[in-house]
């Protein structure tokens, strides 16, 4: 509001310098030196981010996944509200893709016991997270070094089961199954992040079961970790 007021005042002011000027340079310090309230170490800040992660635990018996394998990609926005020099809280909103590549072995039971050439379960999630941030060390208007602890909730927007196998004649078949109903629409868990300015290492632990307990299906890996890049 203050900036708008200054801008209007100066705009009116500039109209008072009436002539066909060829301006090569003009500055209005009253506007230009107004300090922002939004910034990495100011009251409010938001930024987009992308992250890449993988499963850390192999999954339960019957649902082991290939490792190392890039299982998670997400793009989101993070809001930070600074409470004190070393304390902040915030929210994340992101869209993420979890692509579990299942090992095809004799013990596999998820989602079936058939062994394919490849088999994957892909979950497309909308995620909301909340966190508390502990900052460490002196810093200027930067994100600095920090530890985030929080929780998240996923809403599964869609799920695809992917299989690839060979027919007896050697031809390759790729199949995608959707509109499956054995998974829970909502998942939740805990998250932790350690950040060095624009580089973040994150980990998350899923507390909820991925599938309806009544179905007694093997559980996919609960722990994922990866790296995030702050894009602003």
């Amino acid at each position: 509001m203050k900036k708008l007021f200054y801008s209007i005042t100066l705009l009116i002011g500039s109209l008072n310098q009436l002539s066909a000027q060829d301006v090569v340079f003009k500055m209005d310090p009253a506007v230009d030196t107004t300090e922002d309230k939004s910034g990495p170490n100011l009251k409010n800040y938001w930024h987009p981010y992308i992250s890449f992660g993988m499963c850390i635990d192999p999954g339960s018996a019957g649902a082991t996944v290939k490792q190392p394998h890039l299982d998670q990609f997400s793009f989101g926005f993070r809001y930070k509200n600074r409470l004190a020099e070393h304390l902040a809280v915030g929210l994340d909103i992101s869209y993420n893709v979890n692509d579990y590549s299942l090992k095809q072995n004799a013990s596999k039971t998820l989602p079936d016991t058939v062994q394919y050439k490849k088999q994957g379960m892909i979950f497309y999630n909308a995620q909301v997270g909340a966190y508390i941030r502990f900052n460490f060390g002196k810093r200027g208007n930067t994100l600095g070094n920090y530890l985030d602890l929080g929780a998240y909730g996923d809403y599964v927007v869609s799920h695809v089961q992917f299989t690839k196998f060979n027919l007896p004649d050697g031809s390759i078949v790729r199949a995608r199954r959707t509109q499956l109903d054995y998974y829970q629409k909502i998942n939740y868990g805990l998250l932790a992040r350690i950040g060095f300015k624009k580089l973040v290492i994150y980990g998350q632990y899923r507390l909820s079961d991925m599938f309806y307990p009544s179905l007694k299906m093997a559980e996919l890996p609960r722990i994922q970790a990866g790296i995030q890049f702050i894009l602003r």
Binding site: K26, P29, F136, G137, R139, N141, F196, E219, I223
Partner: protein
């Protein structure tokens, strides 16, 4: 499996904490502290033994005592006691009467009990720094102006020909350069003339504590060439006969707080070794500070730079390359009131180059003070290059200052500071982008008084309804409505000065017409002033 999963989770969280704790310190972790002492008892000091004879001469010229309290060494007894009670004594500073130590919280509690301790400040949390940006980033440009023209104009626009004609080449002036490194400069032909006359007096790498500074990056090489280099058979700087002290104080992209400690240590070293001028083409911004801290007294390096000036040295610092970033304003230590802060102008003409940081300081002092060309042709590790940055404007100005000081050796450092401002192209006009303008040897040596280049006239118009509007019209001499001898338009600078003396706005326009600008008088509040400058002539009009 559940147990296994929890075990893995514990492992991951444990890993995170192990990352955090050593970096930042819970109670038993080591942090870096500045420990300031109350006094300097029982110290013996012989300035003739400790200082270079040039330092003594400088102090005499500056009417300073041969030494003062700041020069006295830190008490060995205090250092010894602190050393016994901390994890490591890293360094100490005479000027700040302080020691830099690594210690745990419990060790700090013990040290704090000693009666000779004044204050203890946490200096550097030993954090892993991943720099967003560094002032040293050279913006190499493919541009329309040839390297030859840039090389020519970077010294000639300040009056190189006149300085050379008068034999002013920085002879007898000792310049200390603080930078990230001088890679290739020990062999580069640009400095052959300096090496052949043993013009490099001392070097010191404050990062590694060794003499070798011919590493770390070529930014220092480029900077040095803008003070005294010879490229393609032509001088790329003005102080070609000066003597040099070369210090490495920067680590590069990592940018930890320790760089400021190195800078202050280097300033003490430069003082001890007789430097007259310090050139420092660096600055610290948002990775450490907020714009509100650019008030000339907050940051450690700014306080150190002011102390360096108190020792009679002229401290020349780049304004910074933040003009087109969110930071915008000058970067510490360029905010120090005793530092001659150098902004950048376009090679083609005398107006602000876009990246050059703006003033004022947060306490509304004028910065930058003066300007030099913000794009220069300079030496690299191997060969030469055209590069952008106030990093190069600063050494161009430092070279000029060396020649100026040679010409008027009796001036004190702050008298020279004033004279340099007065000889700049816009003086007495100033704004927060150009300061007092580009340094001019002609104005420095010949006390040129600008002749009136325009007049301010009152005019009025009456509308159909009978309302009268009054204007101040600026009418220029006819010769300014055409181009100057270089084929460029003349530039008129004007600003609106508020009742506090600060600038509400400032503008540069090209002059094409007899009346290039007029101002509606009733649009400005009483007491507001209009300042206009054209070709070194300034007029001030107060609105009533």
């Amino acid at each position: 499996m559940k147990y296994n999963t929890m075990y893995r989770l514990s492992f991951i969280l444990g890993f995170f904490f192990l990352q955090i704790i050593p970096l930042n310190g819970f109670s038993q972790e080591v942090n870096k502290y500045w420990v300031f002492f109350k006094n300097k008892p029982d110290t013996v000091f012989d300035p003739f033994h400790y200082f270079d004879k040039n330092t003594i001469a400088r102090r005499v010229r500056n009417h300073l005592p041969l030494y003062d309290w700041y020069d006295l060494p830190v008490s060995n007894e205090y250092l010894s006691i602190v050393q016994k009670n901390c994890s490591k004594l890293k360094t100490h500073s005479r000027w700040f009467n302080a020691a830099v130590i690594l210690a745990t919280d419990s060790q700090i509690s013990i040290i704090n009990q000693f009666a000779f301790i004044d204050t203890i400040e946490q200096a550097n949390p030993l954090t892993l720094q991943i720099a967003d940006f560094t002032e040293f980033e050279n913006k190499l440009e493919l541009n329309k102006i040839s390297d030859d023209l840039i090389l020519d104009s970077q010294t000639k626009r300040m009056g190189a020909d006149l300085l050379i004609e008068k034999g002013l080449t920085g002879k007898g002036i000792r310049i200390a350069i603080f930078d990230v490194g001088f890679s290739g400069a020990d062999k580069h032909t640009a400095f052959q003339h300096i090496r052949s006359r043993n013009g490099i007096l001392k070097t010191w790498d404050f990062v590694k504590n060794e003499e070798n500074v011919w590493k770390g990056g070529w930014h220092g090489t480029a900077v040095w060439s803008c003070i005294a280099g010879k490229l393609n058979g032509r001088w790329s700087g003005l102080a070609t006969d000066a003597e040099f002290l070369l210090a490495r104080t920067e680590i590069g992209n990592k940018e930890p707080f320790a760089e400021e400690e190195y800078w202050v240590s280097a300033a003490e070293w430069a003082d001890k070794n007789g430097a007259d001028i310090i050139n420092s083409s660096l600055g610290y911004t948002d990775s450490r500070y907020f714009p509100r801290q650019m008030d000339g007294k907050t940051t450690f390096i700014t306080r150190g730079a002011n102390l360096a000036a108190k020792k009679g040295m002229l401290v020349v610092n780049a304004a910074g390359n933040e003009g087109d970033s969110n930071w915008r304003i000058v970067a510490a230590p360029a905010d120090a009131d005793s530092v001659l802060t150098i902004g950048g102008v376009e090679p083609c003409c005398d107006y602000h180059i876009s990246f050059s940081s703006y003033g004022p300081t947060r306490d509304m002092r004028i910065k930058p003070n003066v300007c030099a060309q913000g794009r220069a042709f300079c030496a690299k590790e191997n060969g030469e290059s055209n590069a952008d940055g106030t990093s190069f404007a600063s050494p161009l100005a430092a070279g000029f200052a060396a020649c100026a000081w040679q010409a008027k050796r009796s001036l004190s450092n702050m008298q020279l500071f004033d004279e340099l401002q007065k000889c700049a192209s816009l003086f007495p006009y100033f704004d927060y982008a150009h300061g007092y303008g580009v340094l001019s040897a002609d104005r420095f040596l010949n006390n040129i008084v600008a002749t009136p280049s325009f007049v301010a006239k009152k005019a009025s118009t009456t509308s159909e309804t009978g309302d009268s509007t009054e204007y101040i019209q600026i009418e220029v001499d006819d010769k300014f409505t055409t181009t100057n001898p270089e084929g460029m338009d003349y530039l008129m600078y004007y600003c609106i000065v508020n009742t506090s003396g600060g600038l509400d706005s400032y503008t540069v326009i090209k002059v094409h017409e007899k009346i290039p600008v007029q101002f509606k008088t009733n649009a400005y509040s009483t007491g507001t002033k209009l300042r206009i400058s054209l070709q070194g002539y300034m007029s001030e009009i107060q609105f009533k």
